[in-house]
């Protein structure tokens, strides 16, 4: 790699790379749109929980009317759709099938390709998510709301940041694939506290105080509850939320990078 080129050149290369990666990955993802619909559908947990909470009649959660609850769960559903990360499964398969070796020969870290794949998948997913939201609105006409422009922008930002943090954490875990065949099992294990503490099963306001404060010390609620509250117009500590997300990202990006370099030294092409 040539580091002595003028910065404008490097910038041009990066933007061209990004364009090519994103458009090729988007074309690839469009091939799999049927599969992506199924992935989108498999995120129904917040909608099931919405059914349970609204079946419960009066909602005894501070600050939540029945209508706000519908908005919250719908927002949580949308946020979850755009923060799904599967890099560990893609990487595991690539390493197993021997596709990692040719990727390593390219003058580009394979993780950029995975990142582009995730972003393209989100773009492919968008129409289906909108369709599901429309379907919910058809059943529950009161379910739709217009988020305030500021709330919408902040939620968009928080969702993307949450996605990047999850991507960084899972990438760090992915690197354990170099040492163990059970890395994906660890990820499955990590998914369990994520499911129960992130706000997918109930807004954090419903948690008893000690568990809520424990949850807020983990990254999980900041990935669903925080963006979902922003989107549905709830009150959340905005600056703290972005700060916490950024801190988790700053912690895990270097860990992933370090493990990547250490893992590559162990990698011997056959059977990793």
């Amino acid at each position: 790699m040539n580091w002595f080129r003028p910065p404008s050149h490097a910038l041009r290369r990066a933007s061209r790379l990004a364009r090519v990666l994103l458009s090729s990955q988007y074309a690839l993802m469009l091939e799999f749109r049927a599969e992506i619909v199924l992935w989108a559908l498999s995120g129904v947990l917040p909608l099931i929980m919405l059914g349970l909470w609204s079946g419960a009649g009066v909602v005894p959660i501070p600050g939540f009317t029945p209508e706000r609850l519908v908005h919250y769960f719908l927002a949580a559903f949308v946020v979850r759709q755009f923060t799904i990360v599967w890099v560990i499964h893609a990487f595991e398969e690539d390493a197993l099938q021997g596709r990692l070796s040719p990727a390593l020969l390219q003058p580009l870290n394979p993780f950029w390709r995975y990142l582009a794949a995730h972003l393209s998948e989100q773009a492919t997913r968008l129409p289906f998510v909108l369709a599901i939201v429309a379907l919910v609105a058809l059943v529950h006409p009161a379910a739709l709301w217009w988020p305030s422009p500021a709330g919408f922008l902040l939620a968009l930002l928080a969702t993307q940041l949450a996605f990047l943090v999850r991507f960084a954490i899972q990438s760090a875990l992915t690197m354990l694939c170099f040492w163990s065949e059970r890395a994906a099992a660890l990820e499955r294990l990590l998914l369990i506290p994520y499911l129960f503490l992130s706000g997918l099963v109930a807004p954090l306001e419903a948690f008893p105080a000690p568990i809520r404060s424990f949850a807020l010390h983990t990254p999980f609620p900041w990935m669903i509850w925080f963006p979902a509250q922003l989107l549905s117009g709830g009150t959340v500590p905005v600056a703290q939320g972005f700060g916490v997300l950024a801190a988790w990202g700053v912690l895990f990006v270097p860990i992933a990078a370090l493990l990547w370099r250490a893992g590559l030294r162990r990698y011997s092409a056959m059977g990793a």
């Binding site: 992935w39 129904v44 099931i48 499955r188 294990l189 369990i192 499911l195 099963v201 109930a202």
Partner: protein
């Protein structure tokens, strides 16, 4: 063709061979056991926590007491363990067979292809779930003050078998669609995530969803109806209906497989 009795003995022998060889293969990975134990424990803790969010505020889900709701959760854990033990490992391979063309070899074997595909492997990693679910069902039922008579216990056992068969049929039909849509294993993920609804008694949902979970996706028959029987309050109507649904879904899965095979044209065609 031999007599049905001899052939069922033959199939039982095959089943034992299948499962002992896959058990031997799986036990190579003993670290899995710890991970699976942790996963079952954490999942149960999370589900109990979620239930407690409702009951902590003095609300009863669909009129079910705390312990009665735990019976439903136990049954869900049990069925989830069954899924991990048998359904997931076997039925996820149908897709691979179709994609790589090895389904040809399965069809050539002198045994029933649906039987082979549904029972070939056995993963011991679902056993912690099966065990934890059973314990939870018994403990919660006793604490709920259930005194089921012999008749109710028979009904409960029958209903459990029925719910396992319904679950199997759904998985199998979904996996069999891979004959047409090769990349279909995500569909089983959808099924698994929708079945999460079975963690809670079906009467806790609003009317529309309740109907959906009874008629379209029969979650009600998977956990709620057997739980009613264990708690000694099943009605004859529901028991018969549940058995009928199980028989029907098994029949559909059989018919569907025969139908699907007509469209299977082997690899590269």
């Amino acid at each position: 063709m031999t007599s049905p009795l001899a052939s069922s003995g033959h199939y039982l022998l095959l089943l034992r061979r299948f499962w002992s060889t896959s058990l031997a293969a799986e036990l190579e990975y003993q670290a899995n056991f710890v991970l699976e134990l942790l996963a079952v424990g954490a999942n149960l803790a999370g589900s109990v926590f979620t239930l407690a969010l409702f009951y902590g505020q003095g609300h009863q889900l669909g009129g079910w007491s705390w312990n009665a709701a735990l019976v439903v959760l136990g049954l869900y854990t049990l069925l989830d363990g069954l899924t991990t033990t048998l359904l997931q490992p076997n039925l996820s391979t149908i897709v691979t067979h179709v994609r790589t063309g090895t389904l040809d070899f399965v069809l050539l074997k002198p045994i029933d292809s649906q039987f082979w595909l549904s029972t070939r492997t056995f993963s011991p990693w679902g056993l912690p779930g099966l065990f934890a679910g059973s314990v939870l069902v018994v403990v919660a039922a006793v604490r709920a003050g259930a005194r089921p008579g012999a008749l109710h216990l028979v009904a409960a056992a029958l209903l459990l078998v029925a719910s396992a068969l319904i679950l199997y049929s759904f998985w199998f039909v979904l996996a069999a669609t891979s004959i047409w849509f090769v990349k279909v294993w995500n569909a089983t993920e959808v099924l698994r995530s929708a079945l999460v609804a079975g963690r809670y008694p079906v009467s806790a949902y609003p009317a529309g969803l309740r109907l959906f979970f009874t008629v379209v996706l029969p979650v009600a028959f998977l956990t709620t109806v057997p739980a009613e029987a264990i708690l000694g309050r099943a009605s004859l109507g529901w028991v018969l209906l549940s058995l009928a649904v199980a028989a029907l879904s098994l029949l559909i899965s059989r018919r569907f497989w025969i139908f699907a095979l007509r469209f299977y044209t082997s690899a590269s065609s």
